[in-house]
Subunit: 464 residues, 2 copies
């Protein structure tokens, strides 16, 4: 099936939501790739924004991604690469020549060039770098030297910096006459003679001011210079806290070396929040969806292995009471309930605490109050559910004492769950660990062990 541009327009128009990429579009691209029909492919892509083309590539199989690149050869916009997910970008780069990659990098802002190069393995990277023109190469190599997830990796070097004694008119004339301006910018930075930022002027302020006004007079002096080695998560915090459109990045001497813009930060915010989510669920890499089967299997394996150990640990606890279970088989039937409720209640608290730590809503300043609150919530919900499950179990097995035992075990485990859900992430944060990575394992181990132990132990003590 061939699809020309007008046909595709029709498809999109019939689809009334905001997403440009739908199943029909992907199928049309796949058909064009199958038939190696470059004209058809170009016809479809002509209508699309680069970010949407990147999405189309993500929906293809690994083989089709490579075919796509080979088919289009050099008529491939560099901007598409920077929109691709890492695992997909690997596929695409593997089908490109080092020279083609080098040319694409030369066309990009430095932060984007650094991202693309960062995906290549070391050997491949050197070959590509040699082909990048000298000035761009220096900037990108310097960018690569910054640690991953640092401000230095996010920033672009292209920016506008002027002295404080310039007038607004001079700045406007400078912008009108200079060819090589950044693609987009939102602020003009004011620097001292040693190139340290001393203020910034939002474009709308520059636009509102009369030509003879000095930059010194209109500049905002309360700026938040970001050190190159600051973690991207902290940079994102500053952007969100102070609603910034862009921020100056400074080296260790305080000199202006780059700028980070809000669109870089939007990606960081999503990435960091998603990272918490993934880590709490035991998924180590956020681009998991596009990874090949073996890599995904391996990534998830280690988490499952840890979980196996903790599950076996819980089994050891149960094994201590095998004689009791042999006597009263109802215990085996009921025991997963106590453990499961504790796990769920603890996960609720844990999730709230992990996010609150990440957004700085939970700090030492209110830690005690939060733990206290979670203890109370655990006590209250523990009380409700103790009564409920006590009645259910008592009637089910016509054994009021059994109902009493499970009720008490439930209260205990819900209290422990609330306390652990708050204390575990706080403790991990205090020792400098990432609460999202390991908190769930600790929590479910505790709620399983305490859940089984409290229920079976009480039963052994009171019911035999």
């Amino acid at each position: 099936m061939l699809t020309d541009a007008s046909e595709h327009n029709e498809l999109s128009a019939s689809n009334d939501d905001v997403y440009a990429v739908d199943k029909e579009l992907v199928r049309a691209v796949e058909a064009a790739i199958d038939e190696a029909d470059r004209n058809a492919l170009e016809g479809i892509l002509d209508e699309l924004h680069n970010a949407d083309i990147a999405d189309v590539i993500e929906f293809l199989t690994s083989d089709d991604r490579r075919q796509f690149v080979i088919l289009l050869e050099d008529s491939f916009d560099a901007e598409i690469l920077i929109e691709l997910d890492e695992a997909v970008l690997e596929d695409v780069l593997s089908a490109m020549s080092p020279l083609a990659i080098a040319n694409a990098i030369a066309d990009m802002d430095t932060d984007d060039g650094v991202y693309v190069l960062g995906v290549l393995d070391e050997d491949h990277r050197d070959g590509v770098l040699r082909a990048v023109p000298a000035p761009d190469r220096a900037a990108v190599v310097e960018g690569l030297a910054f640690p991953e997830d640092s401000a230095g990796r996010l920033m672009q070097r292209e920016l506008i910096a002027v002295p404080a004694y310039w007038t607004v008119g001079q700045v406007i004339d400078y912008c009108r006459e200079t060819e090589d301006l950044p693609n987009d910018f939102y602020e003009i930075f004011v620097v001292d003679p040693r190139h340290r930022p001393i203020g910034q002027v939002a474009l709308n302020r520059a636009l509102r001011s009369k030509r003879p006004v000095l930059m010194r007079e209109v500049m905002e002096e309360e700026i938040n210079p970001i050190p190159v080695d600051m973690d991207q998560e902290e940079a994102a915090y500053l952007f969100q806290q102070y609603d910034m459109a862009s921020a100056p990045v400074v080296d260790t001497d305080g000199r202006l070396v780059g700028v980070i813009t809000f669109d870089d930060i939007a990606d960081v915010i999503e990435e960091e929040t998603e990272e918490d989510l993934m880590r709490l669920s035991g998924v180590s890499d956020e681009s998991d969806l596009f990874q090949p089967v073996m890599r995904t299997t391996r990534n998830r394996f280690s988490w499952l292995l840890i979980n196996l150990f903790t599950a076996i640990l819980a089994s050891f606890v149960i094994a201590q009471f095998d004689a009791t279970i042999e006597e009263i088989v109802a215990l085996a039937i009921l025991m997963p309930i106590v453990a499961s409720m504790g796990g769920n209640a603890g996960t609720q608290t844990l999730t709230v605490a992990v996010r609150a730590l990440a957004t700085r809503e939970l700090t030492e300043a209110n830690a005690f109050r939060v733990v206290q609150k979670e203890f109370l919530v655990g006590a209250l919900n523990g009380g409700f559910f103790a009564v409920l499950i006590g009645l259910v179990a008592g009637f089910w097995f016509s054994n009021p004492a059994l109902g009493g035992v499970i009720a008490v075990a439930m209260v205990i485990n819900m209290l422990v769950a609330g306390l652990s859900g708050a204390l575990i992430p706080l403790g991990l944060a205090r020792v400098g660990a990432d609460p999202a990575v390991s908190a769930t394992v600790f929590l479910t181990t505790i709620t399983d062990v305490i859940g089984f132990f409290a229920f079976l132990g009480l039963a052994a003590w009171l019911l035999l």
Copy 2:
């Protein structure tokens, strides 16, 4: 303990991270509130950005929040209110007079006024609205009429729109001469005579262009007008996909009625990602941390209740095999392992699928391939862990047949977990439900039931 501004500066300086609000600062504010020392309080706050003052308020107890407001009376910046979390804003508003709230709302952009009013209950709201000056009142009432989480709620009405035949020079002069411009703006919108947006000019483009150039010549025509009733999540998608600084919002006739800016969207991105995380963990409200104990208890109760039902369902499955368990008590000891591993493996897949659906990386275009992949991952990890747990169980109870049974049950449950983890969210999305809300319950019910049934069923069949 009283703290003046210089002392506080010292405290901040000694703390080398980016967060302005630390424990000492909060303690100092609490001390000033305790002693009802308005001067001390103002001294501390003078040094702080409004967003940081909002954070300080969030760290206080409910009572202190109200005292804080009462102490400062009218010298309270409206900007602080809009930075507050909903539950905290409620506390603060409850200590303010309707007139004070009305004045604050009159000072805000419409989207912020709508947010503040939205937190008040209906009765309170009317009293406040009557005190808001007429033009602002109309704008805010109209904003409130839009559904929650819609573009209409996010947008501000303050914007700059000019006809296409204006020159860049005319626009600059207009900006210089007009008093009542929006606080911040990033784009100038070009409208046709019926006030429909036909293009937009980024400020940096306006700044670069010579005065006689027509807006028509420099405007970007590929714009993404956002309908007032569009869901904020879709609007956020457009911003991220196309790296927009601001976007025009249009009414049902396509007329320009407002603008959404990147900083509104940054909050939405975080909110929506966090919502997925919270919902997967059974927390219904993201501002949970600041809510009073009773409300948090109630919010979490319903999820735990559902979980209790599913846990009892799993117990019914176990109860079918009570005779088998009485015979072989090792089954009771080992059975939680199979269920737990299935639950964890399924959660991994589920989390990846839910996020991929939210970011449109998983759609009909690749659903089949993703399900296929998850089946394979489940089979591979299931195989590994089957061998592992088979050996452990076989040696532990010196019973190779028992090892074989648990191994087979493990493979079955891991396969089911992988498939369910992918199919449940896809199915929920297809019927229009939010995959994040209910997916976890379905998943753990399935992995528990299948886990217990496969293990105990096989044991009853093969080991007795």
